[in-house]
C-alpha cells in the first residue's frame, strides 16, 4: 500500500454546491451586505488590513478559521482560552455561540456539519472544558463527521506539572480523532489549523482536535498562512484514494449484469460524497432497489419507485427480507455495522457482495466481500454507471412484484394509523408521521437515541439529503437538542425539529437557554413515555420483564420550557397532535411540544442482538402491538 499521487488532490467537500441551497447568517447573495461582509473577510485575512495592536496566536487562529470559511463556532470560555476571547471582538464575522455545556457545543458543531457538509467547529478550555467535548468528538468519529475541536491548554511551562485544569487531553482524544495536535508555538498555528481542516473534510471525514497552550495563543507571531497545495504537500501520509480501480469496476459491472435479485445498500458515505444524484441515476439505469442505513437516510427520496427502505435492527421487515434473499448486495458508503447485519453468519446468505468505500480498512472488516472497490462514492458511481447495461424494468417484473408484496405487508403490520396504541394511548409512530406531514417533509429532523430515533427513521418520510441527523455509531443520548441547534444555524432556511425522548432530553436540556439567548428557532418534539423506552423494551423482551432503572420520572416539561421563556404545547391524545405541531410552528423562535405518548409501546420489528436479519420480533404481548 502506498499513499496516492499528490497530483490527484483529495476531494474537498467544502462548500455545498447541490441542493438544498445554503443560506447562512453571512449572506452570499450578491447584495451590498454580502459585499460588505466579503470586504470585512478580506480585511480579516490580512489583505490590506492592519491590527491596531500586536498580532498574537489567538489572532492567527481567528484568521485561519475565517480562511477555512468558518462562520460560526460553538464554545465556552475558561482560564487558558481567554486570550482567544480577548481578541474575538475584532472578528465580528466569526459568530460565537456561547453554549451552556461544552458537550452541547460539540454536538452543535456536529449537527452543523451534517446539514451543510462543511467542517463544524467547537471549542473549550483545558481540563473539564476539554473532557466535556469528548463525547461529542466520539460521536463525530463513529459517524465520520467533519469537525475541528479546539481546546486551550495550560502554558507550556506548566505542561506535565498537574497544573490547575490540566489534563492530558491530547492523550484522551488520540484514539478518538482522525488526527490530533498539540501546539506550543504560535508560528505553527497557521499550518496546523489548515491541516486540521484538510484532514477533517478529506477522504473519509472525521474529527480533528487541536490543543493550544495558553502561551501560544498569547505569543506574538508573523507566521503566514499556507496555501492548500502547501498543506497537501506537508501531509505525505494522507493521500485518500478517490477513484475506484478500473479492473474492480469491471468486475462490479459483471456482477450487476449477472444479478437477478440485486439490492443497493447505501450509507452515509453517499451523503458525504454528495452523490445522491449519481446514486439515483445508477439505480434507475440498472433498475436496482435502494435500501439505506440509518445514516444513509435521505440518499434517495423515499417516494421514488426504487426507494425500498431503511434496513437493520429496527428497519423495515420487507427491506431485511429483500437483503436476506438478494443474490447481489451493492454496498456503497456503508460499513456493515452490527446493527445492519445482525449475526454475520446468517446475513444475506445468497448474496455476493460488491463493497464500495473510501476507507480501505472498512472493506473486509465485518463481512467478506467478493468485489472490493476503494473510492469516493460519487466518483465510483460516475465511472460505473456508464459501464452497466440499462435494464428494462419489465425484466425484473417478478422480482419487483415480490418486493411490492413484502412492502405492503410489512408497512401495514407495524403502523398505528389511528394515532392510538393500546387503550387509546398516543402512539409515537403517529406523532412522527404527523410531524413529517405538517412540515411537508421539508424540515431538518434531528433524532436523539433510542426508540424516538427509530420511530423518526421509519415514519417521518424523508425526501432530501442531509435532512436527517442522528447519532448512529456512538448512540449518544442527549444529542438531539444541541445538534439541532447547530443544524438550525447551518441550514436556517429549513425548519429544524429536534425529536427526542424524555431520557435524552434531560441529559442536555441546559442548551434550551442557548436556543433562547441566540434566537435559534428549534422546534422540540419531546416524546415522553416516562421511561427509558428502549431499555424498557429490552428488559421486557430479553430480560424477562426485570424493569430495573428504566422508569424515569421527569419534571413538568412545560414549566421547564416556560422557565427558559420557551413556549410549550402539550399533546396527550391523537386529536391533540396536529394542533400542537401547528402551534409550535407558529412560534417565532424555539418551541417545545410535550407529547405524552403510551408508556409501554415498543418499536417493532426488532432484531435481538446476536440474532440474524431473518429473526425479527414483530410482536410481543398483546395482539394490539
Amino acid at each position: 500500500m502506498t499513499k496516492g499521487d499528490p497530483a490527484n488532490p483529495p476531494r474537498s467537500i467544502g462548500l455545498t454546491t447541490a441542493a438544498p441551497e445554503r443560506r447562512s447568517h453571512v449572506p452570499n447573495d450578491g447584495s451590498s451586505e454580502a459585499a460588505a461582509v466579503e470586504r470585512a473577510r478580506k480585511e480579516m485575512l490580512h489583505e490590506g488590513r492592519e491590527l491596531k495592536r500586536t498580532r498574537i496566536g489567538a489572532d492567527v487562529l481567528c484568521e485561519a478559521l475565517l480562511r477555512q470559511g468558518v462562520d460560526v463556532f460553538f464554545s465556552y470560555p475558561g482560564g487558558v482560552i481567554l486570550p482567544l476571547y480577548d481578541v474575538l471582538g475584532d472578528y465580528p464575522e466569526l459568530r460565537h455561540v456561547l453554549v451552556r455545556h461544552e458537550q452541547g457545543g460539540a454536538h452543535a458543531a456536529d449537527g452543523y456539519a451534517r446539514v451543510t457538509g462543511r467542517v463544524g467547529v467547537c471549542m473549550g478550555t483545558s481540563g473539564p472544558g476539554a473532557t466535556n467535548l469528548v463525547t461529542g468528538i466520539g460521536t463525530a468519529l463513529l459517524d465520520s463527521v467533519p469537525m475541528v475541536a479546539i481546546t486551550g491548554n495550560v502554558p507550556s511551562a506548566l505542561i506535565g506539572k498537574d497544573a490547575f485544569q490540566e489534563i492530558d487531553i491530547n492523550g484522551i482524544t488520540l484514539p478518538m480523532t482522525k488526527h490530533n495536535y498539540l501546539v506550543r508555538d504560535a508560528d505553527d498555528l497557521p499550518r496546523v489549523v489548515a491541516e486540521a481542516f484538510h484532514i477533517a473534510r478529506s477522504g473519509r471525514p472525521g474529527p480533528v482536535h487541536i490543543d493550544i497552550t495558553k502561551d501560544a495563543l498569547q505569543q506574538e507571531t508573523q507566521a503566514e498562512h499556507p496555501s492548500e497545495a502547501e498543506v497537501i504537500a506537508g501531509l505525505p501520509g494522507f493521500r485518500p484514494n478517490l477513484d475506484g480501480h478500473s479492473r474492480q469496476l469491471k468486475l462490479a459491472a459483471a456482477e450487476i449484469a449477472a444479478a437477478r435479485r440485486p439490492v443497493i445498500l447505501a450509507g452515509h458515505g453517499v451523503l458525504h460524497a454528495q452523490a445522491w444524484d449519481e446514486l439515483r441515476a445508477f439505480a434507475e439505469k440498472a433498475q436496482i432497489p435502494v435500501a439505506w442505513t440509518l445514516l444513509g437516510i435521505g440518499v434517495i427520496d423515499e417516494t421514488h419507485p426504487l426507494a425500498y427502505g431503511y434496513m437493520g435492527m429496527h428497519g423495515w421487515k420487507h427491506v431485511n427480507r429483500a437483503i436476506q434473499s438478494a443474490d447481489l448486495l451493492f454496498a456503497i458508503g456503508m460499513r456493515f455495522d452490527d446493527r445492519v447485519t445482525g449475526n454475520v453468519r446468517t446475513y444475506a446468505p445468497y448474496a455476493r457482495i460488491v463493497h464500495v468505500d473510501i476507507d480501505p480498512a472498512e472493506i473486509g472488516k465485518n463481512v467478506a466481500v467478493e468485489v472490493p472497490i476503494v473510492g469516493d462514492a460519487g466518483r465510483v458511481l460516475r465511472a460505473l454507471t456508464p459501464m452497466v447495461e440499462a435494464v428494462d424494468p419489465a425484466t425484473r417484473a417478478s422480482y419487483f412484484a415480490q418486493l411490492a408484496d413484502w412492502k405492503a405487508d410489512s408497512v401495514a403490520s407495524s403502523w398505528h394509523g389511528s394515532g392510538a396504541w393500546r387503550d387509546g394511548l398516543l402512539s409515537a409512530d403517529y406523532v412522527i408521521e404527523r410531524i413529517g406531514e405538517l412540515t411537508d417533509h421539508e424540515a431538518t429532523y434531528v433524532a436523539d437515541v433510542g426508540q424516538n430515533q427509530m420511530w423518526l427513521a421509519r415514519y417521518a418520510g424523508f425526501r432530501h439529503p442531509n435532512t436527517h441527523v442522528s447519532s448512529g455509531g456512538l448512540g449518544t443520548m442527549g444529542y438531539s437538542v444541541p445538534a439541532a441547534m447547530g443544524a438550525a444555524l447551518g441550514c436556517p432556511e429549513r425548519e429544524t425539529w429536534a425529536i427526542t425522548g424524555d431520557g435524552g432530553f434531560q441529559m442536555t436540556s441546559q442548551e434550551l437557554m442557548t436556543l433562547v439567548a441566540d434566537h435559534i428557532p428549534v422546534k422540540i418534539a419531546l416524546l415522553d413515555n416516562k421511561k427509558l423506552g428502549m431499555i424498557r423494551q429490552w428488559q421486557e423482551i430479553i430480560y424477562a420483564g426485570n424493569y430495573h432503572s428504566s422508569n424515569l420520572p421527569g419534571p413538568d416539561f412545560a414549566k421547564l420550557a416556560d422557565a427558559y421563556g420557551i413556549p410549550a404545547f402539550r399533546a396527550r391524545t391523537p386529536g391533540d397532535v396536529d394542533e400542537a405541531i401547528r402551534s409550535a410552528q407558529a412560534v417565532d423562535g424555539p418551541a417545545l411540544i410535550w407529547f405524552e405518548i403510551a408508556e409501554e409501546q415498543n418499536i417493532f420489528p426488532m432484531m435481538p442482538a446476536g440474532k440474524g436479519l431473518s429473526d425479527l420480533i414483530e410482536k410481543w404481548g398483546g395482539a394490539d402491538e
Binding site: M1, T2, K3, P6, N170, G171, L174, P175, K178, H179, I199, L235, P236, G237, F238, L251, A254, E255, A257, A258, A259, R260, R261, S325, D327, V344, R345, T346, Y347, A348, P349, Y350, R352, D359, P360, A361, G364, K365, N366, V367, A368, E370, E389, S398, Y399
Partner: protein
C-alpha cells in the same frame, strides 16, 4: 452477458454451491453460514511501517493496536537515513485477514507513510539479545565454551556472571536462551526483530515522491 461472476474463484465453495441458479429461493433448505472474514491459520507476521519522525507517533501506533485488539509480539523503532522518517518493525500473531486489517488501520494514521506485510517475502531478520548468565568458578569455562559455539560474544565478565550478546533470528535467540537457562539467567533483554527485504527494492525509496 458472458462474464460469470461465479467463476472468478473468490467465493468459498460452499457458498458458491448454495447459490441457486434459479430465481426462486428454496425455502425448505437453509443456506450454509456465511464465512466470516479471516478465521484462517494464525501465524507470526512481520509488518514494516515507515512513519514520519514526529512526537507521539509510537503512541499512535501502540494505542491503535491496543484499541483494535491486536497483540504486538515485538516492536522495534529507529531512525532511518532520512531525519524526518522513522521505521517500525512490528511482529504480531494473527490470521492473514486480521493482520491485513491491522495494516490497513495503521495506514489510516496520518503520520504513517507506508505499511508492508513482509511475512511472505524473502527477508533478512535479525534480533539482538543481552543475556546476563549466572557463572560460577566451577562452570564459567563451560558457559564460555557454549557461548563461543553459539556465536555469542561475551561483553562483560564479573564475579558470578557473564553478559553475552547474541544476534540472530528470533528462533535462534530462543534456542540460545533455552540452552543457557540451565545455568541460570539473571537478566534478559531483547530488541525485537528488525527486518529488511532482500534485493535492491527499497520501501523507503518507494514512499519518496
Amino acid at each position: 452477458m458472458s462474464a460469470d461472476p461465479h467463476s472468478n474463484g473468490q467465493v468459498p465453495a460452499a457458498r458458491a454451491a448454495a447459490q441457486s441458479p434459479s430465481k426462486h429461493i428454496p425455502a425448505h433448505s437453509a443456506p450454509p453460514p456465511r464465512a466470516l472474514p479471516g478465521g484462517g491459520e494464525t501465524r507470526r507476521h512481520v509488518l514494516v511501517a515507515v512513519v514520519l519522525n514526529k512526537p507521539g507517533v509510537l503512541n499512535r501506533v501502540s494505542s491503535l493496536m491496543r484499541a483494535r485488539n491486536f497483540n504486538i509480539d515485538s516492536l522495534a523503532v529507529s531512525h532511518t537515513d532520512s531525519d524526518d522518517v522513522s521505521r517500525m518493525t512490528i511482529t504480531l500473531h494473527g490470521d492473514d485477514v486480521a493482520v491485513e486489517q491491522a495494516a490497513k488501520q495503521l495506514y489510516r494514521l496520518i503520520d504513517v507513510l507506508k505499511v508492508q506485510d513482509v511475512t511472505a517475502e524473502p527477508t533478512i531478520q535479525q534480533e539482538l539479545a543481552l543475556v546476563k548468565i549466572r557463572a560460577t568458578d566451577s562452570n564459567r569455562v563451560e558457559v564460555l565454551k557454549l557461548v563461543e559455539l553459539s556465536r555469542g560474544r561475551v561483553v562483560d565478565l564479573a564475579d558470578g556472571s557473564v553478559i553475552v550478546e547474541v544476534t540472530g533470528t528470533e528462533s535462534e535467540i530462543d534456542a540460545f536462551v533455552a540452552l543457557v537457562r540451565t545455568y541460570g539467567i539473571k537478566e534478559l533483554v531483547r530488541t525485537g526483530a528488525v527486518v529488511m527485504a532482500r534485493g535492491s527494492a527499497s520501501i523507503e525509496e518507494a514512499i519518496k515522491r
